[in-house]
């Protein structure tokens, strides 16, 4: 049962009830029930095209769900209430290639604010890019770009991280780094929903998983394991 672990005193940070999304009348995922609590990392698994990225876009408020509802700390969600509380890392990293890593992060800090005690420079150091602050992003490798994008998420003063394929393009150290960042974020009372196509995964502890299946192959609903 999706809600069996919910205790009344512990209100979920993010909760989906009967959440489903269709594009042009073709179902992409759902209906899906899940709850994400503070201090929790939940892994969204699924094959390519199973709707993982779409789920994150729905949860970030960029797309409106076709049916069902999203609750944030127990209250129905509106984009205005959500956006100060969520950081999204999507496939397009949102970095400007002409700007340096530092300039990109300074822009992000202006736009989203910054977490107490973290500056663009310390965020860069936190993702292992010490000394890369004045290198144009265009000259960074794909993995390094991913790290800069992670530094932006790290800097955002939000409780909820939605990370789409955070492990893609990263080397072994990078994967460990993402796991460390997630652990620390969860330890500080934050929560994260991360997608993975299965090749790499969150290794610390045994995170709860949401499994999405491709709806046009077998009409199995996404379920929380």
């Amino acid at each position: 049962m999706p809600h069996s672990h919910d205790s009344p005193d512990r209100r979920a940070l993010l909760e989906g009830r009967g959440l489903a999304f269709s594009r042009n009348d073709e179902p992409v995922f759902g209906p899906l029930d899940f709850a994400l609590h503070e201090g929790e990392v939940v892994l969204v698994e699924g094959d390519n095209g199973a709707g993982k990225s779409t789920l994150l876009r729905v949860l970030s408020g960029l797309l409106a769900p076709t049916s069902g509802e999203i609750r944030l700390r127990g209250e129905p969600l509106t984009l205005a209430r959500l956006s100060p509380q969520v950081a999204l890392l999507s496939h397009q990293t949102g970095l400007k290639h002409e700007l340096t890593a530092f300039e990109n992060l300074r822009f992000a800090a202006g736009l989203q604010g910054q977490r107490k005690g973290i500056s663009p420079l310390s965020a860069l150091a936190g993702v292992g890019l010490d000394g890369y602050d004045d290198v144009p992003v265009r000259r960074l490798s794909a993995g390094q770009k991913k790290r800069v994008a992670l530094a932006r998420v790290l800097m955002a003063p939000v409780a909820l991280w939605l990370l789409d394929e955070p492990y893609a393009n990263l080397d072994h150290d990078g994967i460990q780094l993402v796991n460390r960042l997630l652990e620390r974020h969860a330890h500080d009372g934050g929560a994260a929903l991360i997608t993975s196509h299965g090749a790499y995964a969150y290794t610390s502890g045994t995170p709860r998983r949401i499994r999405l299946n491709r709806l046009f192959e077998d009409a199995v609903e996404g379920a929380v394991a």
Binding site: S60, G61, L62, L63, A64, S83, P84, V86, A87, L88, S90, H91, Q92, T93, G94, L95, K96, H97, E98, L99, E103, R106, F107, A108, A109, G110, L111, Q112, G113, Q114, R115, K116, P157, V158, A159
Partner: protein, 227 residues
């Protein structure tokens, strides 16, 4: 945890866009050079008769600036859409319309303002009488931000489509026509000694309306384009 203030978010957008334009200054200069070339070519094509040039001067300057702005319009949200920074703008805790308004302001500052600054010289090139040059600058100051704002709404509507250049021109041109008529009309009236205040006031009224409504429309259109 503190979300930054809205003014610092606006400042960040303006600062980033200006830096980007500076880094791509070769591309950014294109529309301005285009307008200057068009205006400089008219006397060469029509012959140097002051009487003839004087009659078309204001119209030529207006059309050149309008087309230069149109050239730069497609890039207004395109790269932000493609690299995902538009998503970040939408997800920021600040009003999207305000942030987009800042982007449009940067577009106007970098494509229209330099040309307005040299507009008296361009008028001189086309034998525009001295007292009409003031009206020309005033009309341009009112009309070009209006063009940028109207254009931004249309770009926001088409940014999700591939190869939307043609569609954008079709959407934008009918909306640009009234602005052109009032702007160039004010200059023509001034030239023939007629009162020119009314068309300028119309432009000012439209600009106020657009300043308030266009960023909101832009934000709504971009949200649709992103979904």
């Amino acid at each position: 945890m503190r979300p930054g203030s809205t003014s610092s978010a606006c400042a960040a957008v303006i600062r980033r866009d200006l830096t980007l334009i500076w880094r791509r200054r070769g591309d950014a200069l294109n529309p301005i050079l285009f307008a200057l070339m068009v205006i400089a070519l008219f006397p060469l094509a029509l012959g140097p008769e002051p009487e003839q040039l004087r009659r078309i001067a204001a119209g030529v300057v207006f059309v050149a600036l309008l087309l230069a702005g149109l050239l730069a319009l497609d890039t207004l949200f395109r790269s932000d859409y493609e690299d995902g920074s538009l998503e970040q703008l939408v997800l920021s805790p600040h009003p999207l319309s305000l942030l987009l308004g800042c982007k449009v302001a940067v577009h106007w500052l970098t494509t229209a303002l330099p040309l307005i600054a040299v507009a008296p010289l361009l008028g001189e090139l086309l034998h525009l009488p001295g007292d009409v040059r003031g009206v020309l600058v005033l009309a341009l100051l009112l009309a070009t931000p209006l063009l940028s704002l109207i254009g931004a709404v249309c770009v926001a509507l088409t940014v999700g489509m591939h190869r939307s250049g043609m569609l954008l021109a079709l959407l934008v041109l009918p909306l640009y026509v009234p602005v052109l008529i009032f702007g160039a009309g004010a200059c023509n009236a001034a030239q023939t000694g007629l009162p020119f205040l009314a068309p300028l006031l119309w432009l000012a009224a439209a600009l106020v309306l657009a300043l308030v409504l266009a960023p909101l429309a832009c934000a709504a259109a971009l949200r649709i384009s992103l979904s």
